[in-house]
Amino acid sequence: MSRSKWGARALLLLVALLLVTGCGQQMANQPRVAAYQESDFFDDGSGMRPVPPNTVPQMAGALQEDPVLYTGMTAPDAEGNAGFSQEFPYEMTMEDLERGHERYDIFCAPCHSLDGGGDGMVVRRGYIPAPSLVQQRLLEQPGAYFYNAITNGFGRMPSYAPQISVTDRWAIAAYVKVLQRSQNATPDDVPDGVEPEMKNAETAAETEE
């Protein structure tokens, strides 16, 4: 093979190499619909479809047969009276409380504030003040009362059912009971082992003053 042919081949190779520098291709936008992508297949231009009416999801608990778990209310008695369940539908573990703490800080604290006092950032920006969750009147309410408020909304508070799952709502309700206990605690509630730390904190506070 002559030298000029090798030269031409080398040149061609170099030009071809330009292609491997990387560039957008047809494969990057395939004719399928990703989450939230538009689609001209449907009249409303949306690729994601609303759930058809009367659809029952194929999953455990879809029929919501347990009234306490899904509504926080006991099944109606002979006279048709139903009230808030005084018990949680299942036992709350430390894990549930920690989950509730995390979810409370995400979804509730913007209005109800981290300590439940009701002075959250959204309230400070002008939303109708959220009631304190740790006030006397609410101390007497069972966890189901808070579950119900999250699920159906309460006063000006909208329903949070679309944003928070059933078990997370119960976890938050349990954490609200924790907040109530901690915000209304007395020195007698402090376990023995923790006492020295508290005393140290007191001394530190005095020194600062």
Binding site: A35, I106, F107
Partner: protein
């Protein structure tokens, strides 16, 4: 027979051999640079959105957690774009006379969704999943940048494959403790070279994250 070429043609001939080679290499280099530059990756671009929504205001100033709106980020591939009803949780009462908000209220009343423009658009042959990342200590900030300082959402990172592999090959340089995944302005409490490998161990991240099929299938 008279000479066809003047003497200077010798120089021109030599120059064009080197010049030709040089030009091809230059084009190669330019192409390489261009495809990685913000011109191609659209890094730093702000798109025109139907509503001038400010993440800086909602995240930075008010302190709302990412998951308040992006509710599915922990459980699914998509982080979730909030429905208009999520906006209305607060804006049924706040800034109700704002012109920008009129479009949101309109969407709420008519049921017509707001058509947000996608800022982070991966190629369709990449099967990215948010949940696996946030559950294994990759902070929102690592890919989305300081969202709490963005008045308008923009792409903070190039999101090229090269960029993804930086972390897929060395996750220990980027992983955070789980409670810091949704924080912005995070600094590792102890040196990352000590903390990173510990976290990789505790998340059980195994060393095959740069297999093709991890992202392409």
């Amino acid at each position: 027979m008279a000479q066809l070429f003047p003497r200077s043609a010798n120089t021109m001939a030599r120059l064009s051999i080197f010049g030709g080679l040089f030009t091809v290499l230059l084009l190669f280099g330019l192409g390489f640079m261009l495809t990685r530059s913000p011109v191609a990756t659209r890094e730093g671009d702000q798109r025109v959105q139907p509503v001038q929504f400010s993440h800086k205001h909602h995240v930075g100033d008010i302190g709302i957690d990412c998951r308040y709106c992006h509710t599915s980020v922990e459980d699914s591939a998509s982080a979730g774009i909030p429905p208009t009803s999520t906006c209305m949780n607060c804006h049924s009462q706040l800034f109700t006379n704002s012109v920008e908000l009129e479009k949101v209220v309109n969407s709420w009343e008519t049921g017509e969704p707001l058509e947000w423009v996608r800022v982070h658009d991966l190629a369709d042959y990449v099967y990215f999943n948010h949940s696996i990342h946030v559950r294994n200590g990759i902070g929102c900030e690592s890919c989305h940048g300081r969202v709490d300082e963005m008045p308008l959402m923009m792409k903070a990172e190039p999101l090229t494959m090269e960029w993804c592999l930086e972390c897929h090959r060395n996750p220990e340089n980027f992983v955070r403790p789980l409670e810091e995944v949704y924080s912005f302005g995070y600094h590792p409490p102890i040196d990352q070279s000590v903390l990173g490998p510990q976290l990789v161990e505790s998340y059980n991240i195994r060393g095959n994250l740069d297999d093709c099929a991890v992202c392409h299938r």
